[in-house]
Every structure is written in structure tokens, then in C-alpha cells.
């Protein structure tokens, strides 16, 4: 009953005050600067010191990277100035992207990249029509199409050995397969670890602890060097495939632990409400528990994806040339002078773009899935 018209209140009416804007001294850029940059003597000193450092570094960086840099040409002779030799990156760009993939067949890789962009870009645009279906396509059919296109040997496409794959294309193949496969396996492992059935629980615990307790480098070494020793003569499978399996197993163990954290955060009442409505284990898990648990651990999941993306560079030690590998093998080319910094800056920039993209995507997703306040 509203307090305003209580019959026994004797005529005195309660009127709520209208809301007013906050005083102007609590908002605005000046106020922001005072709060964040000059709030205490120590902060004033730190601000001044930071500005001094920026004054020292930024002009030098701009000069090196842009003002005195060389952009056009195709050989070391086109880089006479003191600044960066971006000519090197331009001349080797094809190698950085495709590795040793046969030049005549590179259009196949281009199609794969194009499809990837078609799948990924709409995911960043809110309310883009059909983006759910594009996402489903990206997780199911896309890997199959990519495999057929890149490997060849079907539909009259010339077969290309995985040994010649390299560069950015290899980095993306490794991380995409790693991400797409590690998430579902990780979910199953996390559910298994919380299962009430002792056999399933122990199997999952052993699997997770085994893979988490081993460095990725040793997993890759074992996959590429030791595994063939145990296989009978003549039985051998692809080195890239072995590396992929190693990466997927390794990452799914980490993923399982991240997701288990989310599962533990679901209140018992949610399980009870689902059970009381007659939902069985799989329906309750799929419709009630997992959507909430996954949403809660989006930052953790994306964190794992980002570290997976960067960990793919470790395949260099088993002789696969990913983006960093192609850069590293190019900077020792005697036809070029000292171009190591340019090469590494380029590689770092590529990795940063992808990782930052993933980070932004996770924030978009978190905002989109936020449904009011938690109880």
C-alpha cells in the first residue's frame, strides 16, 4: 500500500523530492585531472616524471618509426637512412603471411582469411543480422572448409604438405583449432571433475593434473620427437597434427579449471530449481548451469585464449615456422643489414592486434550478456 494515501494518516501527504543533477564541481575534465593526476604531492611528482619520460621517448620513437624511416623499395639498398627499414617487412610480407606455401596456391589461403573475416567481423557489430549463424558456421563448417582448402587433395586441388605451411597462416590455424577444440573438451572435463561418479571424476582429475603439470615445450617435444619412437615402423602421422593435439590437450586442461571456477560460483538454488522443474542432468546443465557459469568466467576463458595464441610461437622448437619463426629466419638473411628490431616490432604488432581484438570481444560479450543486477 503506498504511503501517500493511507486513510488514517490524517491528511498529511508525502511528496518525494524531485531528483537534481550533481553539483558541477564533482564532474568535468578539470575535476578528473585533479582527482587522478594531482591529488597528492606524490601524485604530482609522478605525473611530472611521467610527462618527462614521455618527452624523452616519444619524439625519438616517432622519428625512428615514421619521420626518418624508409617505406618504399625492395632491397637493403633502399634503406639508407637512420630510421626503421620497413622495406624489409614489405619485401618479406608474403613469407610472413604464407610461409613456404606454394605461391601458385596462395589464393586458397586468401579465401580462408576472407571467410575468417566474414565470420569474425560481424561478431563485433551489435545487432548484425545473422551473426549467430555466422558464429555457428565458424565453429562447425568453417574448420572443415579450411582443412580441405589448405590441405588440398580433394575437389581437384593440389595437395600441399603441412611442412610448407608457415607464417601468420600457421599461427592462425594452430590457435583457431586450439580455441575451437579446447573449449568443448574443457567444458566436458570441468563437468566430469564435478561429477558424482568416482570413476569419471578421477579420470578427469588425472587428465587435468597431468597436462597442467607439464610445460607446453615438453608436450611439443614429446609429440614431435618421442611419439614417433613408440609408433611401429611405417606408422607416422603429420607433425602439425601431433603439435595440434598436444596444444589442444594442454589448453583444454587449463580451460577445464577456468570453467570449473565458474561452475563453483553457481548457487545451489539454481540446481535445485532446475531439478524441481523436472529438468534432467544434461538439460539443467546445458540450459541453466553452463550459460551462467560460462558468462561468469568470460574474462578467464579469453585470458586462456590469449595465452594460447601466444604459446603457438613455441612450435618453432619442433621445426614449424609460425609468424615469429618466419620473422626470425628472415632477419638473419645476409642480403639485409641489421633489421631485427623492425622484424620483431612487426611480429609483436601482429600478435598485439589479435590479442587486443580478443580482449575487446570479451568485453562486448560481457556487456551484452549482462542481465540486470545479481541477487
Amino acid at each position: 500500500m503506498p504511503a501517500t494515501d493511507h486513510p488514517a494518516a490524517g491528511g498529511e501527504t508525502f511528496r518525494p523530492l524531485p531528483p537534481r543533477p550533481p553539483p558541477s564541481s564533482t564532474i568535468g575534465p578539470l575535476r578528473w585531472a585533479r582527482d587522478n593526476l594531482f591529488s597528492s604531492p606524490l601524485n604530482v611528482m609522478l605525473t611530472v616524471f611521467g610527462l618527462y619520460l614521455a618527452w624523452l621517448i616519444v619524439p625519438y620513437l616517432v622519428d625512428w618509426a615514421i619521420l626518418s624511416a624508409d617505406f618504399t623499395g625492395s632491397t637493403w639498398d633502399d634503406c639508407p637512412s637512420d630510421g626503421a627499414c620497413w622495406v624489409f617487412v614489405g619485401a618479406r610480407l608474403d613469407f610472413f603471411i604464407y610461409g613456404h606455401y606454394p605461391p601458385a596456391e596462395r589464393w586458397r589461403v586468401d579465401i580462408v582469411f576472407l571467410l575468417l573475416a566474414v565470420v569474425l567481423v560481424p561478431q563485433f557489430i551489435p545487432r548484425c543480422p545473422g551473426r549467430l549463424w555466422l558464429g555457428v558456421f565458424g565453429l562447425t563448417l568453417y574448420p572443415v572448409i579450411t582443412g580441405a582448402l589448405l590441405l588440398g587433395g580433394v575437389f581437384g586441388l593440389e595437395a600441399v604438405e603441412t611442412g610448407s605451411w608457415g607464417g601468420l597462416m600457421l599461427t592462425l590455424v594452430l590457435s583457431y583449432v586450439g580455441i575451437v577444440a579446447a573449449l568443448p573438451i574443457g567444458i566436458l572435463l570441468a563437468l566430469g571433475r564435478r561429477s558424482s561418479m568416482p570413476v569419471i571424476r578421477s579420470l578427469c582429475v588425472v587428465f587435468i593434473e597431468l597436462w597442467r603439470g607439464v610445460p607446453l615445450i615438453s608436450v611439443l617435444f614429446m609429440a614431435s620427437v618421442m611419439l614417433p619412437l613408440f609408433l611401429p615402423d611405417g606408422v607416422n602421422f603429420d607433425k602439425l597434427l601431433r603439435a595440434l593435439i598436444g596444444i589442444v590437450m594442454f589448453q583444454s586442461a587449463y580451460m577445464a579449471e577456468v570453467i570449473r571456477g565458474g561452475l563453483q560460483g553457481i548457487p545451489k538454488g539454481q540446481y535445485e530449481a532446475a531439478a524441481a522443474l523436472g529438468l534432467g542432468y544434461w538439460r539443467a546443465t546445458g540450459l541453466i548451469i553452463l550459460p551462467q557459469a560460462l558468462k561468469m568466467v568470460i574474462p578467464g576463458i579469453v585470458n586462456t585464449f590469449i595465452s594460447l595464441f601466444k604459446d603457438t610461437t613455441l612450435v618453432l622448437i619442433i621445426g614449424l615456422f609460425d609468424l615469429l619463426g618466419t620473422v626470425q629466419s628472415s632477419i638473419v638473411d645476409p642480403a639485409w643489414g641489421p633489421v631485427a628490431v623492425e622484424g620483431y616490432v612487426f611480429a609483436a604488432f601482429c600478435f598485439w592486434v589479435f590479442c587486443f581484438g580478443m580482449s575487446r570481444y570479451s568485453q562486448t560479450l560481457e556487456r551484452k550478456l549482462h542481465t540486470g543486477h545479481k541477487r
Partner: protein, 269 residues
């Protein structure tokens, strides 16, 4: 007697409501010598209770007396260890299929609502009809809207539970349970987590439900509700049923000393 009546301002529940009804002879829930232990702790001791179709039972008692545990045994959220429970003629055993059949027929409302926060109010309501009863979405949504109308919040259908007040959430929870067209409704302290201003709206909803002839078992501390709605009040302490009687007898002439003490404690102020 006079003390009880003055303390219990009936919350205007009865006015305009027709609560007279017929209790069927058909047995809905039958518990026989049911016992339950948590580890070595004996929570439920020799519980024997019969609930008939159309009957409204209010279970009360001090906290820790096993009220909630008992009604949670009816849809197997808790497992009993000895004795028998049959619900609508089906005995509760380890058989998962039977448990799921019983849960389909038994709706439950919780103290903390337990709405699904990632789904809208409407989606909360149609989830089980669609996935458990395999109803077409349209039909499920139509019934859900009718039920939301009945609990007086159709305008909130597209909102998420987090945007609703406690009383509104609990009414959604009641609508969600009703969407499965249950034969029996269990209420586990439905008003204990609510602000005083919101208790009435939930109790009104429950009274309206009682009017419609629903079989109800309610664990509650709302003695006004017990007086006006219940056919029988069950008083529990220390995991046992101390006494059960129609509310007029229960409040006026409690047979047991323990019941008298309990009533004097809660009705003092």
C-alpha cells in the same frame, strides 16, 4: 485464545475470497515412517503424513525442526533413508525416471526464489514446459502470459529477474511452477526473504491459488495465512511431527505443551 486473535490481524486475506472447498478422498502424498540422517545427525524421525487431493497443509515449527527438509523429500531434493514416500501413487526410489515424472507433477517455490537470472521472466516460465513437456513454444508462452496475468505481473514478462523486486520475483517463481500445471505445489518459506511490504502480495497470490483448488504444502511462519487458508496445520520440532490439527483447533486448543510454548513465543508481540 483472545490473545491469539488480537495478535493475528488476519491480513485481509479472507475478504472477497471464497475459501470453502472440498478435500478429496484421493491421497496425493503419503509418507510412512520416513527417516533421514545428515551423517550421524537424525533430521527426520518417523514422519508419517498424508496429504489428500485439494488439501492445504501448513507446516510450522522452530528453525532447525526439519520442516524444509521434509517437504524437500517430497520431490526428492533430499533423499530419505528409511520409510516410504508415495506421490500421486508413485513411490520415490533411486529410479531417476520416476523422480523426474514426480518432479513434473510437483511444483516448488523456494525461499530465495531461485529464478534463472540469465533468462527473462517469460523464458523462465516457458523453459520447463518446452524442454520437459515438449510443448510448442506458442502454446507455452500463451499459458505463461495467462499465469503472469494471474499473479498480476504480465507487464514484467520481458524483464530479467534482476530488475524485479523480491515480491515480484517470488510471484514469477509461483507462475513458473504453475506453468507445468502441477498437481501439487510445495512452498518452502516463500515469504521469509521478503521485505514486509512485499509479503502481502505474495500471500495474496497464494490465497488465490488455494481458491482455485490446488493441493498445497506450505512451510511458513505466516500464522495469519495458516489460519485463513490451511485445512490442517502440522507442527514440527526436533525432526518429528508434534501434532497436526485444523487451524481452529491448533490455535485455540493446542494439545501438546511444546505447541503451546511455540505459539506463545511467536504470538507474543
Amino acid at each position: 485464545m483472545t490473545e491469539i486473535q488480537s495478535a493475528q490481524q488476519p491480513r485481509a486475506l479472507v475478504e472477497g475470497h471464497d475459501l470453502s472447498h472440498q478435500v478429496g478422498a484421493e491421497v496425493m502424498v503419503q509418507m510412512t515412517d520416513m527417516n533421514k540422517w545428515y551423517g550421524p545427525f537424525h533430521v527426520l524421525r518417523d514422519i508419517t503424513l498424508t496429504v489428500h487431493r485439494g488439501e492445504r497443509i501448513v507446516v510450522c515449527g522452530p528453525s532447525g525442526s526439519g520442516k524444509s527438509t521434509m517437504i524437500r523429500c517430497i520431490n526428492r531434493l533430499e533423499e530419505h533413508q528409511t520409510g516410504r514416500i508415495t506421490v500421486d501413487g508413485i513411490e520415490l526410489t533411486d529410479d531417476v525416471k520416476k523422480i523426474e515424472i514426480i518432479r513434473r507433477e510437483v511444483g516448488m517455490v523456494f525461499q530465495h526464489f531461485n529464478l534463472f537470472p540469465h533468462l527473462t521472466v517469460l523464458e523462465n516460465c516457458v523453459l520447463a514446459p518446452i524442454w520437459v513437456r515438449k510443448e510448442p513454444r506458442r502454446q507455452a508462452e500463451e499459458r505463461a502470459m495467462a499465469l503472469l496475468e494471474r499473479v498480476k505481473i504480465p507487464e514484467q514478462a520481458k524483464k530479467y529477474p534482476g530488475q524485479l523486486s523480491g515480491g515480484q520475483q517470488q510471484r514469477v517463481a509461483i507462475a513458473r511452477a504453475l506453468c507445468m500445471t502441477p498437481k501439487l505445489m510445495l512452498f518452502d518459506e516463500p515469504t521469509s526473504a521478503l521485505d514486509p511490504e512485499m509479503i502481502k502480495e505474495v500471500l495474496d497470490t497464494m490465497v488465490a491459488l488455494a481458491e482455485s483448488g490446488m493441493t498445497m504444502v506450505c512451510v511458513t511462519h505466516e500464522m495469519g495465512f495458516a489460519k485463513t487458508v490451511a485445512d490442517r496445520v502440522v507442527f514440527m520440532d526436533e525432526g518429528q511431527i508434534v501434532e497436526q490439527a485444523p487451524p481452529s483447533d491448533f490455535f485455540a486448543n493446542p494439545r501438546s505443551e511444546r505447541t503451546r510454548l511455540f505459539l506463545s513465543q511467536i504470538l507474543k508481540h
